[in-house]
């Protein structure tokens, strides 16, 4: 077992997950000393009736709530300013964000903006630019997401915010909100979570507590992704995957974002593919590569991926290879279940072979020192062909 000599870690996020979780909201707000929440939601989410469901959870609570539920792009500073004015004029004291992806960025930055009257957003952006706690912020996820919702990061225009205080105080995962019919969205979200969690779990910067969150996220995806792809209406499974996204977001940090993340984002941006899908494709190859050349703790992945029984049966000398194989198996299973809808390799994702060098070049970043052009190139080549590097 891995024992870090020294670490520090905190995660303020509380999770309420399962049947009738929404109905706990009034009570939870009260415990956070909030009386008048502002609900922030995108147009798409409210069209699906999610905001209505959320509001009915407040029945019989005696609370008055404000609703901004037709927010659409551009998600920029003037938008934040407009909502900030509403928030102040109507005496709100807390934010409930419904949705996923950029609407959560809006809510996080809104929270910064309402808590820091005198200063402009630009002054507060940057690393650890926010020294004090903000107003209570609750996040109610719907299907989909970019994996950053529960993280310490937020981005609006070109301003990047980073602080522990940006993390939601509470995440409410309710089966009525998180189911989706779109298997591509399901897979992309789950694979983003898996990639982030695997990289956190095998990162040298890991510790006992990041392990808890990463372990949980990997286990949720390994156990529930295939059943949910098979039956998208599966409420327990959908909740489990939403949990995975939430847990993985909690441990996403500079220290733990690895190759799969960078490759996924780069390839996604270059070829217009959902980044989560790309991360899913490259993940096993990055894991194999890092085990071989960077001494990553790949063997640890067996327990969350396979569970007690199978983990106990696998010889430790093979566990690196088995972990990689299990992730490739997962890709094949997803591909089969969706009748080819989810690509297994970069070739199937229609990435042209002559672009691989280009990808590798663009991946090199200061965020992940030590990884060179040839590292990325080896991995994208393997991911294009579908043959991982294996020991021996």
């Amino acid at each position: 077992m891995f024992l870090p000599n020294e670490y520090e870690f905190s995660c303020f996020v509380k999770i309420n997950s399962g049947t009738r979780a929404l109905e706990h909201l009034p009570h939870e707000l009260d415990a956070l000393n909030a009386r008048k929440p502002l609900i922030v939601a995108g147009k798409d989410v409210s069209k699906e009736g999610h905001v209505r469901k959320l509001m009915s959870a407040f029945r019989d609570s005696g609370m008055t709530i404000g609703v901004c539920d037709d927010i659409s792009g551009p998600f920029d500073a003037p938008l934040i300013e407009a909502i900030t004015n509403l928030y102040r004029n109507k005496d709100h004291d807390s934010i409930v964000a419904v949705g996923s992806g950029s609407i959560v960025d809006v809510a996080k930055v809104l929270n910064v903006s309402v808590s820091y009257g005198g200063r402009t957003l630009r002054e507060l952006a940057g690393k650890n630019g926010i020294p004090n706690p903000l107003d209570p912020f609750i996040f109610v996820p719907t299907a989909g997401g970019d994996g950053y919702e529960t993280s310490r990061y937020a981005e609006i225009e070109d301003m990047k915010f980073s602080s522990d205080f940006l993390m939601p105080d509470l995440v409410v995962i309710d089966p009525r909100m998180v189911t989706s019919r779109d298997t591509r969205i399901i897979v992309a979200t789950a694979m983003t979570a898996l990639a982030h969690a695997v990289e956190a779990y095998t990162s040298p910067a890991k510790n006992h507590i990041t392990d808890i969150y990463a372990h949980a996220a990997i286990k949720y995806v390994a156990e529930y992704l295939i059943p949910v792809v098979r039956h998208p209406a599966d409420r327990d499974g959908s909740c489990a995957l939403a949990n995975a996204a939430c847990m993985a977001g909690c441990v996403v940090s500079d220290m733990t974002m690895g190759m799969a993340h960078i490759l996924g984002e780069t390839i996604g941006a270059m070829f217009g593919i959902t980044p989560g899908i790309c991360m899913g494709i490259v993940l096993p190859y990055t894991v194999a590569h890092r085990a071989l050349h960077f001494g990553a703790r790949t063997a640890d992945l067996i327990l969350p991926l396979a569970g007690f029984d199978d983990c106990a049966k696998i010889s430790p000398s093979l566990s690196d290879a088995v972990a990689v194989t299990m992730m490739i198996d997962l890709q094949h299973e997803l591909n089969g279940q969706t009748h080819g809808g989810i690509p297994r390799t970069l070739e199937e994702a229609d990435v042209p072979p002559y672009m691989l060098q280009d990808i590798a070049e663009r991946c090199i970043t200061d965020d992940l020192p030590g990884y060179t052009y040839s590292d990325y190139l080896t991995v994208v080549k393997q991911a294009w062909e579908g043959s991982p590097a294996m020991n021996g």
């Binding site: 009738r20 109905e23 706990h24 509001m55 609570s61 709530i65 407009a82 509403l86």
Partner: protein
């Protein structure tokens, strides 16, 4: 540019009515059981005189209040805790949690595990009241449903179970 509206969400009248009826019946059944069942009587004996217990739904009710008189007699004291000095309050956090509880989808213990019930007051008294409610449930409910509501279905004599059940039903309906 941004639409905004302020909403005061309404109530849930039907669920409220259902829970109110259930609470009314449970309250009267506790009073009846204290007179019929020796185990329940013993639990109440151990509690101080003029002990008052309240079970209800946050934040706006319905509630039920059961108390011991100064002479130690257990009595259902109605639906309104206002103005009474409550020694022990068990609060169900919201109406949906109450529905889950009173439609036997979740039992007392599970509801407590899920933070849907909170206890305000003396913990030993709360344990005693939980046992009382368990016993009352065994009396009131057919075995199939009662098994969902409690952890371990007791093996009682025919006399205690069936005669007791008839007496408690009678007393609860008639209210004496």
């Amino acid at each position: 540019m941004v639409s905004y509206r302020e909403v005061k969400p309404g109530g849930k009248p039907f669920k409220r009515a259902y829970v109110a009826v259930m609470l009314w019946f449970v309250g009267r059944a506790v009073q009846a059981a204290a007179r019929v069942d020796r185990a329940v009587a013993r639990e109440f004996d151990d509690l101080p005189d003029s002990f008052t217990f309240c079970l209800g739904v946050e934040p706006r009710g319905p509630f039920m209040v059961v108390g011991k008189s100064k002479k130690g007699r257990v009595k259902y004291l109605g639906w309104n805790p206002a103005g009474k000095e409550i020694d022990l309050a068990m609060r169900i956090q919201n109406m949906e949690a109450a529905i889950l509880l009173f439609t036997f989808q979740e039992n007392n213990a599970l509801s407590a595990c899920r933070n849907r019930i909170t206890v305000d007051g003396d913990i030993p008294a709360a344990c005693a009241m939980m046992r009382v409610i368990d016993i009352v449930e065994v009396y009131l409910l057919p075995k199939m449903i009662a098994r969902l509501a409690i952890k371990r279905y007791p093996s009682w004599s025919f006399r205690r179970k069936y005669l007791g059940r008839i007496r408690i039903y009678f007393r609860s309906v008639l209210g004496y």
